[in-house]
């Protein structure tokens, strides 16, 4: 007869495993919480008004606080004086570039996904394409930066240099003014980010389409619908919620990328917002990268504040994605 019965052993083993799982989960959450806390503490100086800060941490009165958020941080341009510095140009730049990226990457990516999933024959050629797209999704984004630099910023030197461009379209003051090569302008940034997110959009859209039961396609075809009618009227509407969720997550990826734009050589200090598609711009992650690299402590605090803003934006993006998934997704069979 052993000291511990078999049953007790089993229960102990079970508990030990549970404890291990709990430990790893809580460790992850703890690290994340610490990170967020330290960023919030560091960033609070420039994010919140002095009266709000002194009411919470000092001797001020909570009831007398009239202004909580220090809006100057959001509405000022970058500056070499930390107290005057803000992220206005970076926020606007991020929005512009994200919208351009979405307008380019979503139609292309979703179109590719529909073709590959609904129309393309399953042969060695499409298997090769599939394999490549999957690999491209794992390529580090800085590599796309180099491609963007060659293909969009300089356009292989075919159209002269950035300063001395060979071709331009539209009046200088129109928002759609474009010149070739794109230089460090919005279009170059948007196109480069498009390269980064395109594989992600394609893969997530394909998965969304694949999740539509084939019995629905068969039903549609059997009633005399063409493959195109089946894709546009049955498969795509059924897959749209999942496609949108994937698209939003891809956009939040684009929003957070600094590396490819760093390679393009976009400026960090900009005293105006972009006027046209060729105008210079900067983005939030790049502004953060720049501030964090400076020696003075105040700039580190600025970087932390900008990180908080970026995180809020990304949480909003993901929140919309989760909402869409929950609300729009209907059962399909």
């Amino acid at each position: 007869m052993s000291g511990i019965s078999l049953r007790t052993k089993r229960i102990l083993k079970n508990r030990a495993f549970l404890a291990l799982c709990l430990f790893s989960t809580s460790a992850t959450i703890l690290i994340l919480a610490l990170l967020l806390m330290s960023i919030m503490v560091q960033g609070s100086h420039f994010l919140f008004s002095s009266e709000a800060l002194s009411a919470v941490f000092g001797h001020g009165e909570l009831s007398q606080v009239t202004k909580i958020i220090r809006w100057e941080f959001l509405s000022n341009f970058a500056s070499r004086f930390p107290e005057k510095a803000g992220i206005y140009a970076a926020v606007i730049g991020s929005l512009w570039v994200c919208v351009i990226c979405a307008l380019l990457a979503l139609p292309l990516g979703i179109g590719t996904a529909i073709y590959l999933e609904e129309f393309a024959p399953k042969n060695r050629w499409t298997a090769l394409i599939d394999f490549n797209i999957r690999n491209l999704a794992g390529v580090p984004s800085i590599v796309y930066g180099i491609l963007g630099l060659t293909a969009f910023t300089r356009m292989f030197g075919l159209f002269g240099s950035d300063k001395n461009s060979a071709l331009s379209f539209g009046p200088d003051n129109a928002w759609w003014h474009i010149q070739l090569p794109f230089g460090q302008g919005l279009l170059a940034g948007g196109l480069t980010l498009m390269l980064v997110v395109l594989p992600i959009v394609i893969i997530s859209s394909r998965e969304a389409l694949r999740a539509v039961p084939s019995s629905l396609r068969q039903a549609s075809l059997a009633i005399g619908a063409t493959p195109w009618q089946t894709a546009s009227k049955i498969t795509l509407p059924a897959a749209i919620p999942s496609i949108l969720t994937g698209a939003i997550l891809a956009m939040s990826r684009a929003m957070g990328e600094a590396a490819p734009l760093l390679v393009l050589g976009i400026p960090v200090f900009i005293a105006n917002t972009p006027d046209n598609l060729n105008d210079n711009f900067t983005v939030l992650p790049f502004q953060i990268f720049n501030w964090a690299g400076r020696p003075q402590e105040s700039f580190h605090q600025l970087a932390a504040s900008a990180i908080v803003v970026l995180l809020v934006v990304l949480v909003c993006f993901n929140g919309v994605a989760v909402y869409l998934r929950q609300k729009l997704r209907k059962p399909l069979a």
């Binding site: 039903a219 059997a222 005399g224 009618q229 209907k330 069979a333």
Partner: protein, 277 residues
């Protein structure tokens, strides 16, 4: 259509081996199949099938799994086009048209030959939209008539009374049997001549099965119906004619009563009496 001309002469001259047209000689034939072979890649799935499927009758295809009866069914509306290496030769005519002719428009073919699947597969749309989907594709209505067409189709499928108050609710809220009758209504809505049913009751409970079987008997007055079934009692209950497939060959075909009470072939007898399969 010059392609179909030679085929027209064939049925008259060819030996009428086992055909289902064993009823009155004046019987109208909707689907004429002569020396029909089908392959999946190198696999020879159907061998020299010759079978006439008469108008406004229920013809059931029976046989053990893998005998080719579903393959046969899926060639009638060319759903097998979706299978990459499926091919067929021989004669398969719908009225006078050559179904196997690559130039024959599958869209038009599938409008004339509706299909109901094993598992009810309503679209994730409203009941109304499910029925209106087909007519909208084929522009088979004048705008004010769509409501009437939807009602007429639902009535024909004996489901109108159950859904008339919730036409704009999701079709996925219906029970399995109701969904299957909805799928039948959806197929009817485009005005087909033929309805193909691939084990239409095998995913349903006995009560829903009874309602769908009653509907099949009802629809025989308007449509030519071909039912694939694993259930021999069902074949006996709903069909006028039965064709027994075994290992890719048509073993015996004839009036259902004769097939079940007095089969000519030993294999048929073994199968219908439940000795194998």
């Amino acid at each position: 259509m010059p392609d179909t001309q030679p085929n027209l002469a064939k049925p008259a001259t060819a030996p009428t081996a086992p055909t289902a047209a064993a009823t009155a000689p004046t019987e109208q034939i909707t689907i004429r199949v002569q020396d029909f072979n089908a392959w999946y890649g190198a696999y020879h799935a159907l061998h020299n099938i010759t079978l006439n499927i008469p108008s406004q009758r229920v013809t059931s295809l029976i046989g053990p799994s893998g005998c080719g009866k579903s393959t046969f069914l899926r060639w009638i509306n060319r759903m097998n086009d979706l299978v990459p290496n499926a091919r067929a030769d021989g004669v398969m005519q719908l009225d006078q048209d050559d179904v196997l002719d690559r130039a024959f428009d599958v869209v038009e073919l599938r409008r004339r030959v509706g299909m109901v699947f094993q598992k009810p597969n309503p679209f994730p749309k409203s009941i109304y939209e499910n029925i209106a989907f087909g007519p909208r594709l084929h522009k088979r209505f004048h705008h004010s008539d769509l409501d009437a067409l939807v009602e007429q189709s639902l009535r024909a499928a004996a489901i109108w009374d159950e859904v008339k108050d919730r036409l704009h609710n999701s079709a996925l809220g219906l029970s399995g049997g109701q969904q299957q009758r909805l799928c039948i209504a959806r197929a009817i809505a485009v005005g087909p001549e033929v309805l193909l049913m691939d084990e239409p009751c095998s995913a349903l409970d006995p009560r829903s099965t009874a309602s769908v079987e009653a509907l099949i008997r009802e629809l025989r007055q308007t449509f030519t119906i071909v039912v694939v079934t694993h259930n021999m009692q069902q074949a006996a209950r709903v069909s006028d004619l039965t064709a027994f497939f075994f290992e890719g060959k048509l073993v015996e075909a004839g009036p259902t009563d004769g097939m079940f009470t007095n089969p000519k072939n030993k294999q048929t007898e073994d199968y219908v009496t439940g000795r194998f399969g």
